[in-house]
């Protein structure tokens, strides 16, 4: 647990990282560094997109799985690490972090 906290802190402390969010499987944010309304907005939108992406990947080959999603835009880059389905952790969670590219 402590290691998780440390890693989270390190990631958040990077210059260039705007925000970090941890979202559970339903799209409800558990932990965030942004304000509430923005968090909810991003969580909802990205949750849907991730679901769609995962559905796409698995449609093409059901044995495949989505491991990472990156969206690069003019101003930011959004990186989403979706948690894969596992029997041990029936509640899936996703981690989203915003990254503002250095240059």
């Amino acid at each position: 647990m402590a290691e998780v906290e440390e890693t989270l802190k390190r990631i958040q402390a990077h210059r260039g990282v705007v925000a970090t969010m941890v979202v559970n499987a339903e799209g409800i944010p558990i932990r965030t560094t942004l304000d509430n309304s923005t968090t909810v907005q991003y969580a909802g939108l990205l949750h849907q997109l991730t679901m769609k992406a995962r559905s796409t990947v698995r449609d093409i080959d059901p044995q495949n799985e989505l491991t990472f999603l990156r969206i690069r835009s003019k101003k930011h880059e959004i990186m989403v690490a979706p948690e894969s389905k596992s029997i041990l952790a029936p509640n899936r969670c996703k981690k989203i972090s915003f990254f503002f590219p250095k240059n």
Partner: protein
């Protein structure tokens, strides 16, 4: 429940006559609704059972061959289980007001069929009753039971048989038919006005019609859409035991509903409360789950990749895309030219470069890519670095001070190329780490030697800080700092064991030990370094000069290196400045002693390509190149007035080596110049460089300094390494008292030997 059949609809289009063939609603065919109330519909007509029977018999007699179909119809009825009372099966079955006696041939046979099933069912009542009883006693297992159904072919059922009324002219009956036709034509002709034919009309009485309405519970309709995807199918087939909750929550329906969370919801408020609770405990579960940790790990690495991508690409020797405009490129080129011109006056090595490779005018340089540094290691002195033997991107760095004054807790970290900002493994040690090495046979073992002389072995697979093995229990351990340790693969030809790996350490208490990895770490002495007097020829280790009061009989060992080809020999450098050549098979005596340094020898290194030469660096500000057959130095390199802490041959070229003294790191290329390094890089003012390491798979150099930073430099434009087969031959050499030693070697590209000799 079959009673639904018997609800009769008077509006049936097939009702023909008044007499009814009522279906006696027997007690058995009852309709019960959900609460068990008897809501059997009353039939509209109650027929006289007496009248029914003969007709049934008659019907059955005439339609014996329809008996086979009775069961068929029955089964079809049984499927039509109507809930509720509106059990009308449509006009096809529901006719009660038919009369058999009025069945005329002009009626279509279909009518008969429609009537017939109704009658048949009433006949087969007893059967039906039985069957119903049976049905009611069936249990769930029975329903799940496998039932064998045998399909057989019945006799041909004629549903419609309309014989043709057309007869061929040539058939046998033709004559008769023609005769009949003729008679009929005559009759038709005689008909109008004929008394024999009278038209008469008659009106039938219509039976009393009764309307009956039935109302049932509202059928609630719900629309449900589901997008079936191929992975959905795959999952359903493959997943066997998942709890129902997770299944429900995992609905992948692309409906906009978000209410498919936990499936135990009953009411809205309950939902909210539940979500909150579950969220709390689930968020804990999420944060501590393994998957989350892994995701974080990946995320961090990807962030690193984002930040360091160009540098990593340069490390891997990918051509780096320059997204600058063409103008800027020209600028850069001009600058380079100017620099090179300046250097040309100062550095003869550039000229030699020009001579050799006229097309290349770019001098070699060191370019700093990045540093392995983090808060944790800030302020510690880098004492040693080692690559992992299997993963060329994994680096182990030991942090510990060289002086006894600055001792603090030491650190050994494993850094990965993929994350230059935080080490993958951190091992905290009690004392400063002075030496470390990865094992070859078990690549997950990292041996660490410390300032107090203890040896610890860590398993880098685990993140745990605890050591795998410790030498603290060993009675024979070192009493001085371990300055170098190495895992050496050695042939044990005598014992027939084949290649084995041994852990060898040299320490300041003058012993070279070999450690055994068993349940406890223990060691034996390979060699004790006895003090030798420098100038006088003396047998090593026997006599002690009475005049000098020596603290110990043994000289501190600082470094060692095993011969690359024959692992029985090794060199050991001492604090006195002597280098001894020793053999594993002889514990008492040195094979040879090389005297040349005036200060402690910090490092010895055999040339990996030409195995007779070795380098040594020392605190007397010099680096010396030796040949193993000569007891006096061949070449001395001194370029700065600072301790030379570390020296290492390049793994790619026999002429290139890197040396680090306190203020700068130098790259020497012997084929270019033996007076000056071809390139060097200065350290930051308050920082001293302490160790150097070449990267095996790429042209990069790692330099560790006293502030805990390990910088990665890229070597650019060094001479092409095509000299694996170089031989150093000796034609003339002078003793070390002369200022310059000339050493001839066969240059790779055929430049004349005399030129070089003349130059120097």
């Amino acid at each position: 429940i079959l009673s639904g059949i018997y609800a009769n609809k008077a509006a049936s289009s097939r009702s023909l006559s008044t007499t009814s063939d009522g279906k006696a609603v027997d007690r058995a065919s009852l309709v019960f609704d959900d609460e068990g109330k008897d809501v059997t519909p009353h039939p509209l007509f109650r027929s006289d059972p007496n009248t029914v029977v003969p007709r049934q018999g008659k019907l059955l007699a005439s339609s014996a061959y329809f008996g086979a179909t009775g069961s068929g119809f029955l089964s079809s009825f049984s499927t039509h289980q109507t809930s509720g009372v509106n059990g009308s099966l449509g006009s096809t079955y529901g006719s009660s007001s038919t009369s058999l006696s009025n069945a005329s041939t002009t009626e279509s046979i279909l009518d008969e069929i429609q009537k017939r099933p109704c009658l048949l069912t009433s006949y087969n009542f007893s059967d039906v009753q039985v069957r119903q009883e049976e049905i009611r006693e069936w249990t769930k297992e029975d329903l799940d039971r496998r039932v064998d159904i045998y399909l057989t072919e019945t006799e041909t059922i004629w549903i419609l048989d309309m014989p043709s009324v057309v007869v061929s002219v040539e058939s046998e009956d033709a004559g008769r038919v023609l005769e009949r036709n003729r008679i009929y034509v005559d009759i038709c002709k005689n008909r109008p006005g004929n008394d024999r034919y009278v038209e008469k009309m008659m009106q039938t009485i219509n039976g009393a019609a009764k309307n009956k309405e039935v109302q049932c519970d509202k059928i609630i309709m719900e629309d449900k859409g589901l997008l079936v995807t191929s992975w959905d199918l795959y999952d359903s087939f493959n997943v066997s035991e998942i709890e129902p909750t997770s299944k429900a929550e995992g609905s992948r329906a692309t409906t906009g509903k978000s209410s498919t969370t936990s499936s135990l919801m009953i009411s809205e408020s309950a939902v909210l409360a539940r979500i909150h609770e579950e969220e709390e405990c689930h968020s804990e579960a999420i944060l501590t789950s393994e998957n989350f940790q892994q995701n974080l790990f990946f995320m961090e690495r990807i962030l690193m990749e984002n930040i360091f991508q160009p540098k990593l690409a340069a490390y891997r020797q990918f051509p780096v895309l320059i997204v600058k405009e063409a103008k800027q490129e020209e600028h850069d080129k001009e600058k380079k030219d100017k620099e090179e011109q300046k250097d040309a006056f100062v550095d003869p090595s550039i000229l030699s470069d020009l001579n050799k490779t006229p097309e290349e005018i770019v001098p070699p340089r060191l370019e700093r890519l990045w540093s392995y540094i983090c808060d944790l290691t800030n302020g510690h002195n880098v004492s040693s670095m080692a690559w992992s033997k299997v993963n060329p991107d994994l680096l182990a760095v030991g942090y510990g001070a060289f002086d006894c004054k600055e001792q603090k807790k030491g650190l050994a970290c494993c850094w990965s190329l993929k994350n230059p900002m935080w080490p993958e493994r951190i091992f905290r040690c009690e004392h400063g780490v002075t030496a470390l090495d990865f094992s070859m046979a078990s690549p997950n073992l990292l041996a660490v030697g410390m300032y107090d002389g203890s040896v610890t072995i860590y398993n880098v697979r685990s993140c745990n800080d605890a050591a795998l093995l410790d030498s603290s229990e060993s009675s024979n351990k070192h009493t001085g700092p371990i300055w170098q340790m190495r895992w050496v693969e050695q042939d044990r030809g005598a014992t027939g064991d084949g290649k084995k790996e041994r852990l060898i350490c040299i320490s300041a208490d003058g012993r070279i030990t070999e450690w055994f990895i068993q349940k406890r770490l223990d060691c034996i002495d390979l060699m004790k370094i006895k003090r030798t007097e420098s100038d006088k020829r003396k047998l090593p280790g026997e006599k002690e000069r009475k005049r000098e009061a020596l603290i110990s009989q043994q000289a501190a060992g600082m470094c060692f290196d095993f011969h690359p080809k024959d692992t029985n020999f090794y060199l050991a450098g001492t604090e006195e400045g002597h280098i001894h050549k020793c053999s594993c098979s002889c514990n008492e005596q040195f094979l040879e002693t090389y005297r040349g340094h005036k200060g402690p020898v910090y490092k010895v290194a055999w040339n990996p390509f030409s195995s007779d030469m070795f380098l040594s660096c020392s605190a007397d500000w010099s680096i010396i190149l030796w040949h193993q057959d000569s007891q006096t130095p061949i070449l001395t390199f001194s370029s700065a007035t600072a301790f030379v802490h570390d020296v290492m041959w390049s793994p790619k070229s026999a002429y290139i080596f890197a040396a680090v003294n306190e203020s700068r790191v130098e790259i020497w290329d012997l084929s270019a110049s033996i007076l000056n390094p071809v390139t060097s890089c200065f350290a930051n003012p308050r920082v001293k460089f302490t160790s150097v390491l070449f990267a095996k798979n790429t042209d990069c150099l790692l330099v560790g300094d006293s502030k805990g930073e390990v910088s990665v430099f890229e070597l650019q434009n060094l001479a092409a390494p095509n000299n694996n087969k170089v031989r150093f031959t000796r034609t003339r050499w002078w003793s070390s008292e002369a200022c310059m030693l000339v050493w001839y070697f066969i240059p790779p590209k055929g430049a004349s030997v005399k030129d070089l000799a003349n130059r120097y």
